[in-house]
């Protein structure tokens, strides 16, 4: 996963149970109320990356996931001007108790950007806590500005047993190189479904299930990048894919010219393996030869048995690379 997207994924992971890392904010009672929430403030408009809500205390957390080390002061001032009622309305939060909603803003960033962001916050006079993602832990900085529930959750740094989940593996600011593997997988899925054509919008929705969150403008940027990725894929494998870019009001599309599904089972497997090899940066490792595999006892068994190949598993096609 791109490092710049780790913060937003980390904050979602913290409210998602059942994973490899402890969901400490879910344990504290928070849930993800919304993502990419546009809010209007007296200092301007801001799109909140993630809104967390505690249904019982009506406490809200507006999370700004920093991709890099730059803190945009104008944006930070909008966050400071943000009111809880604005967030409730903008994220359509359901308040289950008749309690005055409260709000705190937190920034989330990678550890290597911590010092610079803390300095920027201090210089701008902003009293926001900062969640910092280290290689093996998440810690809370500016803890004195944090709510009690946040302080309790991060009284000691959270140990990470694995990297944060990849809910959002790429976005409209990702490079085409980053996006291409997801587009390729969506194209292979389309081949597997025996589609003959797929529009760029449909392909984008399949490659990026989180596409629905974005504004029309950002969706357009994402579609353009997906189109660029398709263009590259089609150029590298013109026998399988043909790309037709968008024209006027017409969406671009891809024609699927040759489909592994048209082959017999062995040829089908080889067809998919070929599509994988074209994308693989390194050669696939050959299947291991295990001592004892195809043992002589099996050979002797044939003396007493009929055709054992009628078993459950299909004959496997060989990778012919």
């Amino acid at each position: 996963m791109e490092e710049r997207l780790v913060p937003v994924n980390a904050i979602i992971s913290l409210v998602t149970r059942g994973g490899l890392n402890r969901a400490v904010l879910a344990d504290a009672g928070f849930l993800a109320a919304g993502l990419e929430i546009p809010c209007v403030t007296s200092d301007g408009n801001v799109v909140v990356d993630v809104v967390l809500a505690h249904p019982h205390t009506c406490h809200l957390i507006a999370c700004e996931a920093k991709c890099g080390s730059n803190m945009e002061v104008a944006q930070a001032r909008c966050y400071r001007a943000l009111g809880p009622r604005t967030v409730v309305r903008s994220a359509f939060v359901t308040l289950r108790q008749r309690v005055d909603p409260s709000l705190e803003v937190i920034y989330v960033a990678m550890a290597e950007n911590k010092d610079r962001i803390l300095l920027s916050l201090r210089e701008a006079g902003l009293r926001f806590p900062l969640l910092t993602i280290h290689p093996g832990k998440i810690s809370l900085e500016n803890i004195e500005f944090a709510s009690e529930s946040l302080r309790d959750a991060f009284g000691t740094p959270l140990t990470l047993n694995a990297p944060p989940d990849r809910f959002i593996p790429f976005d409209h600011e990702s490079s085409v190189d980053e996006i291409e593997p997801y587009v390729m997988a969506a194209l292979v899925a389309a081949l597997s479904q025996r589609l003959q054509m797929i529009s760029i919008t449909a392909l984008t929705e399949r490659a990026a299930p989180h596409y629905a969150l974005y504004s029309h403008r950002i969706q357009g940027r994402l579609r353009r990048k997906v189109g660029e990725a398709v263009s590259r894929i089609a150029a590298a494998d013109s026998g399988t894919f043909e790309f037709f870019p968008a024209t006027g009001n017409h969406d671009g599309h891809v024609k699927l010219l040759h489909n592994p599904e048209e082959n017999d089972p062995r040829g089908r497997t080889q067809g998919y393996q070929r599509l994988g090899r074209l994308r693989q940066g390194r050669p696939r490792r050959p299947r291991p030869e295990v001592p004892g595999q195809g043992s002589l006892l099996d050979e002797l068994d044939k003396a007493n048995s009929g055709d054992e190949s009628a078993g459950a598993d299909e004959a496997e096609a060989e990778d012919t690379q």
Partner: protein, 353 residues
């Protein structure tokens, strides 16, 4: 025209020609009859007096299936024909369609297939050479045990932590006796293929339904945890939306010794996994945007040295997770577990109180 009641006369319960039942998972997209028509060759499908029951002829053979769609998602194909012939016919159709799949029973669903019952035989099959790459104490296990304590021996092996990962239950045969329902001998393997002899079709159907409902719970729980994204109404909000669900995590009881080799084999598009993907490794973690070629759907997967994270998306089929878990039990780790307590209970076949 045939009725459901007539099946007990038509199907053989003779031990020499047992009835076979194959359970197939179907995604009919609204019209189950139409899917069955699409699937069958022209003139090979006959209706019966029962709207959920059909007779499906195998072309160029004097054999047929009785297809019961009463369970709308898991259809039962009953037949007297030889198992190899029946399997070949169904495999051809399931393999070429994206709206049909086998069921993939986890090891524990077979281990505890029916409460307080006498076991007649058990089978364990483990083919670990590809994913273990020779690193396992046991790369390949084939055990077939007959007799009333057959399961005890496999249980004995299962309780040994050194052996547990290599002895999944692959099939089981039990003798059922009920004063009201009758007597049947039932065999079932992990791909939802049943063989029965005895004197009670009702008992057989109840047995199949019990196994299927336990499996269905696992599949549907996975689907409940699937990740979905919903946008707010664009009439009132320029952007934004909500997310629900979580990745499904499998924990392994053994370490993947050579992760490159593991993922190269796992994502090679081959049977039984049929996962396409181009693995990318970063700091010992593998990220793959895979495609489940059984159903033609993307399935994002992360692999660490002792875990696997699956990002099932809403409207994807939970069978993808059940199939992967069952195949991993038979190819890498029979003692794998799910991190989610509910899914783990369903994997073990435990029904909530």
């Amino acid at each position: 025209m045939t009725t459901r009641a007539a099946l007990s006369e038509i199907l053989s319960f003779d031990a020499s020609v047992p009835t076979k039942t194959f359970v197939i998972e179907a995604h009919p997209d609204g019209d189950a009859t139409q899917l069955l028509r699409d699937f069958s060759e022209p003139g090979c499908l006959e209706e019966t007096e029962d709207a959920y029951l059909f007779r499906l002829w195998v072309p160029d053979a004097q054999n047929c299936f009785w297809v019961d769609q009463l369970n709308e998602r898991f259809w039962s194909f009953h037949t007297n024909m030889p198992v190899a012939l029946a399997n070949r016919y169904l495999k051809l159709h399931v393999g070429t369609r994206r709206d049909l799949d086998w069921v993939w029973l986890p090891s524990d669903h077979l281990r505890t297939v029916w409460p307080d019952t006498r076991t007649r035989g058990v089978r364990s099959k483990f083919e670990g050479s590809q994913l273990l790459g020779g690193s396992g104490a046991f790369d390949d296990v084939r055990l077939k045990l007959n007799g009333r304590s057959a399961d005890e021996f496999l249980d004995y092996l299962y309780k040994n932590p050194h052996i547990r990962a290599a002895v999944p239950f692959d099939g089981v045969e039990v003798a059922l006796d009920d004063p009201e329902l009758g007597q049947v001998n039932e065999a079932v393997d992990r791909m939802g293929r049943f063989a029965v002899s005895g004197n009670s079709l009702e008992f057989h159907i109840q047995f199949v339904e019990t196994v299927v409902s336990r499996y269905r719970r696992l599949v549907e729980l996975c689907e409940q945890k699937a990740i979905g994204w919903t946008s707010f109404d664009r009439e009132v909000a320029e952007s934004g939306g909500q997310m629900a669900g979580a990745p499904i995590v499998i924990r392994f009881s053994r370490v993947i010794q050579d992760i490159e080799q593991f993922v190269d084999n796992l994502f090679s598009s081959r049977e039984p996994f049929r996962l396409w993907g181009v693995p990318r490794m970063q700091d010992g973690i593998v990220e793959v945007e895979a495609v489940d070629l059984h159903v033609g759907q993307c399935l994002r997967i992360d692999v660490g040295e002792q875990w696997m994270r699956l990002y099932l998306t809403k409207d994807s089929c939970g069978n993808s997770v059940a199939r992967l878990a069952s195949n991993l039990q038979h190819r890498f780790d029979a003692a794998l577990t799910f991190a989610d307590d509910e899914i783990q209970a369903a994997l073990k076949g435990i029904t909530p109180a």
